[in-house]
């Protein structure tokens, strides 16, 4: 993973952020390099870094230009870019820790997954086979975004790909497990959204008062585990108690 970490280009996102580009498509290899670079930059502890934001194939490094004033060259953006190259060009000093693996219980179909049948029709499969294929994959959290704690997951079985709804819903319930194009994701809170809803998890994906607030972190591995409706209800009741 680290061997290719220095294979990237640096662009600017204005005067307060750099964009590190590892690719320009939804590619699992580029995404893995993004997370490796993110980890290396967190570990390096460069001064004045205020946010490190991994996305599919790029990584933003938000910085305070005041921390990067150089006497010989007044340009903080060039100064920090050189420091980033030094960090990512060198072999990692220690083994990067393995990303977490998280099992997510999901009750598929019915009122909790109102688009499951439409997805089955679209895929030419029966609903049980859609569920079987959805739980068979191991996914990776490519990035979190759209809303706090919303994971974009790579690894969807190609036969389950389906375009977003022509008309987005105004209210998608929290915990909804959904498919949008080549990706699957989970709505962490009630939000508007156009993805196809196939099930729901009783887990709380994001809670600002919890530490850590997000159940999933960028780069984590995810598996879905099917549960029955009564178990879903029981777990929701336990959470609320």
């Amino acid at each position: 993973m680290s061997a290719a970490a220095h294979d990237f280009a640096i662009e600017s996102l204005g005067e307060t952020a750099l964009l590190l580009r590892f690719g320009d498509s939804l590619d699992a290899g580029a995404n893995a390099r993004v997370h490796a670079a993110s980890e290396a930059l967190h570990a390096a502890g460069l001064p004045g870094i205020v946010d490190i934001v991994p996305a599919y194939a790029t990584l933003a490094l938000h910085y305070d230009p005041s921390a990067w004033i150089d006497a010989r060259d007044g340009s903080p953006s060039r100064h920090i870019a050189a420091a980033v190259h030094a960090v990512l060009g060198a072999p990692p000093e220690r083994t990067l820790h393995a990303s977490a693996s998280v099992d997510i219980p999901v009750c598929y179909g019915g009122d909790l997954g109102p688009d499951l049948d439409a997805l089955a029709d679209h895929a030419g499969l029966d609903a049980a086979e859609v569920i079987a294929r959805h739980v068979a994959s191991t996914y990776h959290v490519a990035m979190l975004g759209f809303a706090p704690g919303f994971p974009y997951l790579f690894g969807l079985d190609p036969s389950l790909q389906m375009a977003r709804r022509a008309t987005p819903r105004t209210h998608v319930p929290a915990g909804s497990v959904a498919i949008g194009g080549v990706q699957t994701g989970i709505y962490p809170s009630e939000l508007p959204g156009g993805w196809q809803l196939i099930g729901r998890t009783p887990l709380t994906l994001f809670d600002a008062r919890r530490d850590p607030p997000s159940l999933l972190m960028p780069g984590d591995r995810v598996r879905f585990v099917p549960i029955a409706a009564d178990e879903f209800e029981a777990r929701v009741r336990t959470l609320r108690a």
Binding site: E15, V53, S77
Partner: protein
């Protein structure tokens, strides 16, 4: 000490300098839209620049102070009245117990900042008191203020211990005398900050813009239009972004982009051809072409404009924009230091 919200105004929220370090979780920065006049409000109230303030938008609130306090108001020009007496902004003001502040409707600009000495006592969410209206987190229950809300003000004012020990003297004497004579405008006891150059008296000044990653993908006519024609801030504009009406901008050829991290000040171009300037509550990632990046020094100036105001862009390069930013921070910090000395002398 508490403040009761008698009328909430259009959009009155608690804001500090923003929420850092959790953009990787999809949690945006939020914070004050105009982080320059926000810091000056804190300085004038004797607070540290990071203290939370009220961001007041277009139509201001009516607030009752249950006890006395020192406050300061900066930013958009509101017809501030204290117990029906006209009161000037951009200066420390001593409030008597039981007094009512009425902001009225902004005459110029769109966002004012109310700092209260001692700051607001609110449990930070993910390290910040800022209200993220869209994500419904931070601030006062993750929302704008409503009628009947009560804000608690801290007793420990001032950016440092030195000022802490001396600030009460200031409040007790000269400032109190001036406030009681508030109707005597221009009285020799009064001092206030000149809003210039921290707040635009004239919104015709161009906003400086760095070419974005996808500027070159614009058609030649659109490249010219971006820097030569006038845009108008659409009514559908808020803390997330400002939609800009004007010439429809088009790409020379379609771009296939995947979502990438975003920053405030990015000028995005959705398929409709009307650019959107991302503001402080922007999503952390997005996939529209980025045709420009508003210079950081000009972002607070844009934030003060309101729907219907015009915007023109002038080109600036990255290095110059960064230099301007560092110069402005230097000047601002110097002024904040001078205000602190004035308050404690």
């Amino acid at each position: 000490m508490s403040i009761t919200v008698l009328k909430p105004g259009l959009l009155t929220t608690l804001q500090d300098r923003g929420r850092y370090g959790c953009a990787m979780l999809g949690v945006g920065r939020a914070g004050a839209m105009d982080d320059v006049t926000m810091r000056l409000a804190n300085a004038l109230a004797g607070n540290g620049v990071d203290a939370a303030v009220l961001e007041i938008t277009l139509i201001g609130p009516r607030l009752r102070f249950d006890e006395g306090a020192t406050i300061a108001l900066t930013g958009a020009d509101f017809p501030l009245r204290i117990d029906d007496v006209d009161t000037a902004m951009w200066q420390p003001i001593v409030i008597e117990p039981g007094a009512t502040l009425d902001f009225g409707v902004a005459r110029h600009g769109s966002r004012a900042y109310l700092a209260v000495a001692g700051g607001f006592v609110v449990e930070p969410t993910l390290g910040s008191i800022s209200t993220d209206v869209n994500a419904r987190l931070g601030g006062f229950d993750g929302r704008a203020l409503r009628e009947g809300d009560t804000l608690i003000v801290g007793s420990d004012a001032s950016p440092d211990s030195h000022a802490t020990t001396r600030a009460p003297d200031v409040r007790g004497t000269a400032l109190a005398r001036r406030t009681r004579n508030a109707h005597l405008k221009g009285s020799h006891q009064t001092w206030s900050l000149d809003p210039r150059p921290w707040f635009d008296a004239d919104f015709a000044t161009p906003i400086r813009l760095i070419r974005g990653a996808h500027f070159d993908a614009l058609s030649a006519a659109s490249q010219t239009a971006l820097f030569n024609e006038e845009f108008c801030i659409d009514k559908d504009s808020n803390r997330v972004g400002f939609r800009l009406d004007g010439p429809t901008l088009i790409l020379a050829a379609p771009l296939e982009l995947v979502s990438e991290p975003l920053v405030a000040g990015t000028l995005q171009l959705p398929p409709g051809g009307q650019p959107i300037a991302l503001m402080v509550e922007h999503p952390t990632i997005g996939g529209y072409p980025r045709i420009g990046q508003i210079a950081t020094v000009d972002l607070p100036r844009l934030a003060q404009r309101r729907p219907g105001d015009s915007v023109r862009f002038a080109e600036i390069d990255l290095d110059t924009a960064q230099t301007r930013y560092l110069e402005r921070e230097h000047e601002l910090l110097r002024l904040i230091g001078a205000i602190g000395e004035r308050l404690t002398s």
